[in-house]
Symmetry: C2
Subunit: 108 residues, 2 copies
């Protein structure tokens, strides 16, 4: 009976609220790239094939607003901006792992 907990104690459709935070088309890819450690803007752009500069900026902003990652600016001669996951962001790994498991079995 405990297995149906998800269907009784949950508010209603938190899913939509969750997706507002991590449902972005590239959010998961960004998180995945940042799991090993912080990265610069350009590094992220290179690590995520297919993403556009514009969308990367947008997603990063949204994720920063949602406290999933932090943005640190260094006033160096070539501008340097580093992005790193917060604890809230790191805790998304289980979701990522489950997705990867499912993908390996049914997609790959």
């Amino acid at each position: 009976m405990a297995e149906k907990k998800i269907h009784k104690s949950e508010s209603k459709c938190t899913i939509q609220q969750i997706l507002d935070v991590i449902g972005g088309k590239w959010s998961m890819s960004i998180i995945y790239a940042l799991v090993p450690g912080k990265l610069r803007f350009k590094e992220l752009e290179r690590l995520i094939p297919g993403i556009s500069t514009r969308m990367l900026v947008k997603e990063l902003k949204n994720m920063e607003a949602n406290k999933i990652l932090t943005r640190t600016v260094f006033a160096t001669v070539p501008p340097t901006v580093e992005y790193a996951l917060t604890e809230k962001g790191v805790k998304l790994r289980p979701i990522l792992d489950e997705m990867a498991k499912w993908g390996e079995e049914y997609v790959a």
Copy 2:
């Protein structure tokens, strides 16, 4: 060292391929609604607040094409169409559960 498996044996960014299947704005909500059992079109529409008929049709078609759910038509007088998760679709529950857990802790 086994814990980094996700970052070495994985193709590259399967994430995008996975998201093509379950990354739709409403996919997860539909799956969530269908976990307890099959539902008719109108029932789904009622269970998912905010979705439009058009998007529901579209997502259902996409998910059917991706073998996540099945569509069964009954030639009754008032048309009846039932949607049910396939095994591939049921196996998405762990992801849903992880998302719910994360959401309860950080969103709700």
